[in-house]
């Protein structure tokens, strides 16, 4: 029988790559808590998913140019992510069917990215871009993740009121004369967040650690700011559990972390429903 210490502490104590993964996940969880909660509140989950894939072709071009360098992958991803966010905005303004347009982007971007990476790289490279390498984060990548996360958290803290109110009642903001394009600013922050996550979780999974902890936190019906903190906590918990399970069971870390976050979402839903069903009974009993 393994001791608790060997089960939980030792992997991080003895292995530098596990520590780097943990620190990266902490930075990403803090950022994703804020971004994800706003995404859920704005009912933009699908947009997040699409932007996640929009990062793909640009990252692939970065890969073709410089190999698997975190900087070039990120710059490329940032460029194509922002381009698609802008195009998406234009399409909506032109009055086309938004969901169909978004899904079209999503499929084309994903396929284009895979084709570009496979053209010059190997299958391993394709897998790396799609699912990330949370266990192969070096110091440069870690610094980059920390820097991106910090910028995003600070930006959301500064713009919290208009971003939160824009999620609730955007027509009111326009009517009181707010002309700044906070919707576009938020889309840019989502792209930035996805680029930060992309090294660890890949373009296919990056949306998972963003949306699932936030959706889980939202179940509890708390205020927006508290919800963000809870989502960050859920994200960190899912990361720790996911890293340990993947280490002991020799499973791919990114997907296991996303599964752990999904489990938290399911448990939150179940718990809140159980409380709702029990609450009237308890009230009558007292």
């Amino acid at each position: 029988m393994m001791s608790l210490h060997a089960l939980i502490v030792e992997p991080f104590e003895t292995l530098a790559f596990m520590r780097a993964a943990l620190v990266a996940c902490l930075a990403l969880a803090l950022m994703n808590g804020a971004v994800g909660t706003l995404l859920v509140l704005r009912r933009m989950s699908l947009d997040g998913e699409v932007l996640g894939h929009a990062v793909m072709p640009g990252a692939a071009v970065g890969f073709l140019y410089a190999g698997p360098s975190p900087l070039w992958l990120s710059l490329g991803g940032l460029a194509s992510g922002l381009a698609v966010a802008t195009l998406g905005g234009l399409i909506t303004r032109a009055g086309a069917r938004r969901d169909a347009g978004l899904v079209a982007f999503y499929l084309v971007a994903l396929s284009l990215g895979v084709v570009l990476v496979a053209w010059r790289g190997s299958n391993v490279d394709v897998m790396r871009v799609l699912f990330g390498t949370v266990l192969a984060i070096d110091q440069r990548a870690l610094l980059q993740i920390a820097a991106f996360s910090s910028v995003i958290v600070i930006a959301i803290a500064a713009l919290y009121r208009p971003l939160a109110e824009g999620a609730f009642d955007p027509a009111f903001l326009r009517a009181v004369g707010v002309r700044a394009p906070y919707g576009a600013v938020f889309s840019a922050l989502v792209v930035l967040a996805l680029v930060a996550s992309f090294q660890a979780f890949g373009t296919l999974l990056a949306v998972g650690p963003m949306l699932l902890p936030a959706a889980a936190a939202r179940c509890w019906g708390l205020g927006a700011a508290v919800s963000m903190a809870l989502a960050a906590g859920f994200g960190l918990a899912a990361s720790i559990v996911g890293l340990l399970v993947s280490y002991h069971a020799d499973l791919p870390s990114g997907p296991v972390i996303v599964l752990a976050a999904g489990l938290l979402f399911g448990m939150s839903l179940a718990a809140v429903n159980a409380v709702r069903r029990l609450a009237p009974t308890l009230a009558r009993g007292s």
């Binding site: 009055g95 009121r161 609730f168 009642d169 027509a171 009517a175």
Partner: protein
Amino acid sequence: MEADGRVLLHDVTVRYGRRVALEAVSGEFGAGSLTAVVGANGAGKSTLLAAIAGVVRLATGVVNCAARQRLAYLPQLASIDRDYPLTVSELIALGGWREFGAFRSPGTALRARAAAAAETVGLGGRLGRPIAEISVGELQRALFARLVLQDAAVILLDEPFAAIDPHTMPVLLDQVTRWHQEGRTVIAVVHDLDLVQARFPSTLVLARRCLAWGATEMALPAMAA
């Protein structure tokens, strides 16, 4: 209230794609007037308010409103996300947005005004409640209180009385009357023609174009025709 509460429309046309929602509407809402906008479904009533509020693009024409900086717009209740984590007092305090803006918190004076406004619409005991837990009627009262805080010269109300319970109805109507007495310009989309007859001095009848516009007893018969 100052005399700049006039709203002038000149040849206002709005299109959604190829569909014409509002066609060549011209006329004037006088300062301090209380006007009901009536018409069948799809007649462009909501579009007219959105055009005056400046939230849809005009295909042709101009909306002239000197009080643009002091205009308040209440869209249909259905456009509000009721699951949003916000309390009644926070919702009402948003009416002071122009005072605190994007980067500052509402001050104590504003909070006191929010509490007073809540009192006038009968929500005094509900300030700390999340909006997800209050009734539709109470939500509409809270939105009216938010409008009170906005202290607007021109107030646009899109179907403010739709799906409202009988206890809330008189509260909302009294508030509309109070705004009218204070000399504010009020433009409301209303379905209940008896209500229009009883409470609104002026009426605008829409069917994409303007069918009639003027004193209610003159204009309203165009609705039946």
